[in-house]
Symmetry: D2
Subunit: 237 residues, 4 copies
């Protein structure tokens, strides 16, 4: 297995999970990705998107922003049906992958393999966790990012960065204790610029969000406000 160089994600990052929303599928997802690209070009803030697997190639070939898979399976290429390999998403143009989202939780041994498989092909890994204890366990598996998301706030519009700051700061401490090289982003309920700047002030490297952008009337306006708020906190290497 050739070790590819991973894409470098410049912080702060705004990562938009398209989930299985119709508004994020196919041509509609393309419109959001194009908007994200314009926001990145205008602000310099990294805006990545995680479309359905069927759209990774389309978005990767049509935009210059980082494209993430929503999941990769804990397998090497071979006799598996309905599985998504690190190699397949990499060849389609993804630069990273989400893993262990609260809507797609993984067995701990599989998560370790998926992180390793991603690194082997040069994919950045963003491992989701639901609380500080699980965050620190995920950090032990050596991903690039841990994304802390209290599942009870997902899709609510109540921002984790304001409603549960102690979950974020607790996760940051727990992760740093176990593995200081892991960066932390946070998500759940993020829908405005001030939610993003609050997240960065707490010590994160950015946010993971979904419906706040994908189901917004004007995704580009929301992204632009978020990117400007993020930028006001300073760009990092």
């Amino acid at each position: 297995m050739v070790k590819n160089d991973s894409f470098k994600i410049q912080a702060p990052v705004i990562l938009v999970n398209f989930k299985a929303y119709l508004e994020g599928t196919g041509e509609k997802g393309m419109l959001i990705a194009k908007a994200a690209e314009r926001v990145w070009m205008e602000t310099g803030v990294t805006v990545g998107v995680a479309p359905p697997p069927t759209d990774i190639r389309l978005l990767a070939s049509s935009t210059q922003i980082p494209i993430f898979a929503q999941h990769i399976d804990a397998v090497v290429p071979g006799s598996y049906t309905g599985r998504t390999t690190a190699e397949a998403v990499r060849e389609a143009g993804a630069v990273g992958t989400l893993l262990n989202h609260s809507e797609n939780r993984l067995q701990i041994a599989d998560l370790q393999i998926s992180v390793e498989r991603a690194r082997q092909v040069g994919l950045v890994t963003v491992v989701c966790a639901n609380n500080p204890l699980v965050s620190s366990a995920c950090a032990a598996l050596e991903p690039d990012f841990v994304a802390i998301e209290p599942p009870e706030l997902i899709g609510t519009g109540i921002p984790v960065s304001k409603a549960k700051p102690e979950v974020i700061t607790g996760s940051i401490e727990a992760v740093k204790r176990v593995n200081p090289s892991v960066r932390i982003i946070c998500g759940a309920g993020i829908s405005k610029g001030e939610d993003v700047s609050a997240a960065i002030k707490l010590g994160t490297s950015g946010v993971l969000l979904a419906s706040g952008v994908v189901k917004a009337k004007d995704p580009e306006a929301v992204l632009l406000e978020m990117a400007n708020s993020a930028k006001s906190q300073g760009l990092q290497p």
Copy 2:
């Protein structure tokens, strides 16, 4: 939900599951799909392919053969991460989907929903089963096809049509009793033209196979031999 018209599959059919093989991923999968297209044009025998989800759009936009997903999830579009919806694979250009492959077994209630979701968007369903009892249970869920595959023969090169003909004829009888409108194909160990004609003589509408083509030195030669053998048994509507 708009009910789309499903693609009509003309029998006999040769359906090639690319699985998660590197030889069936990305540009390499494209070569096999192009070969399949030439065989179809030369023989008139339907040759479909089921690539990884990341390649559905690429193959559907580059060839005229039927493209299948390897799986769709039992969900309507919405707040799901790492799931593959009927809508996403349909928009990417697939005309059908495998379901319940022995490498991706589904809960019975989910399988029923996935078959229904596929029909709602106009996808042909090929539901895999491992023995006659399970075949008849799958037929009760009203898919278009049941694909009978004894898992112990998958990838062995020992063709089910010769090694276990009674599993095929038993499944055909069991399926017809439960739901006579369901068509049957078979798989496992299929690697030659004679395996295909033997399957059709037993009463099937064709074959589902994978490594016999995907890992062959000359996939086009194997497909051409299979298609000619299938054609010798007569084309059906």
Copy 3:
């Protein structure tokens, strides 16, 4: 594998799933089982209970009513951890098992094996299904009973026998078409005697219920009322 004779369940049957309720665990479950036994002795109506696996032996050795497992795994005895075999529940004294409850859905191939494993050791099988299509698929797997339970009514107190009689009659028709030797019971929202008699009038052989008895203030009074209502519809062989 020695084929044991299965326990014969006389209809109508009232089957109480203790689930993982504290009120149905250990000594508290014993009180309900003892109440069920008195109701059976007084009315002649079969009252069975399905306690947690840890309590099967206790209840089977202390009462004469039929004890069911809530689940058995699709494995033969061997190198499996945290699995429940047909042999283990049989030796502990169970006479049957629930399978595929909506809170514990099984892969279709596993469900077929579990039904077969149960029959091999002489356990009666009650396979749960959520709608008529899934009921007929389950019937194809040759269980003793199909229990039709619309999951949206479970635990609501709105009885399926009154709120969705067409789901019950539709399932009865679908099951009879596929496998006329399978008996049908129904569940979800059953909490009174009239719910039970309504279920029997629709053509079922009885009911599967849980909170209506387990969480009742006086489980024995509820069971007695149900058994008398069932009895008013006539005992069957």
Copy 4:
């Protein structure tokens, strides 16, 4: 939820997983548990057993050795079918539970909840891990013990303590870095006294094993040899 005091496990410990072996089920399992009790009384070395859930109460009421569940689910008592709660196994007499065995791998968020649920009712937790990275992730979840078991050696008779000592020492280091209060045992291929003393010399608090005792011709003789070897390394608090 009342916090019960956990059972204190004196090291070294020999923990025998009965799995789903017929030789460890029901009356046969009782014979092994009785043998384990005699070995403990003779040597003073802690010998615990993990029978199927159906036998926990039988063994706990008939012997004085520590009885472990093989698994508990990540739920509080309630509307769950086929699940095993911490409360149910505790009431049946268990003092601890295995979790995340390679034959029963858990999602990381569920594993965190199961460890917490066990602690809430006073059950000792032994979380299995397959390599040093996963061991350290498990340690972050604050169990009492991590049991390191390379799955490729399970059931082989090739002892991990001799074949892969670096996996054990690597896990010990990784665990201590993340959470120094977690104790480590090891397993896979353990079948003789010298395998046990080798494990203790590497720094573990004992062993987890299964077929080496359960399928032995004379389980008591094997256990006695193991306990004497363990004792030769010194008893610890």
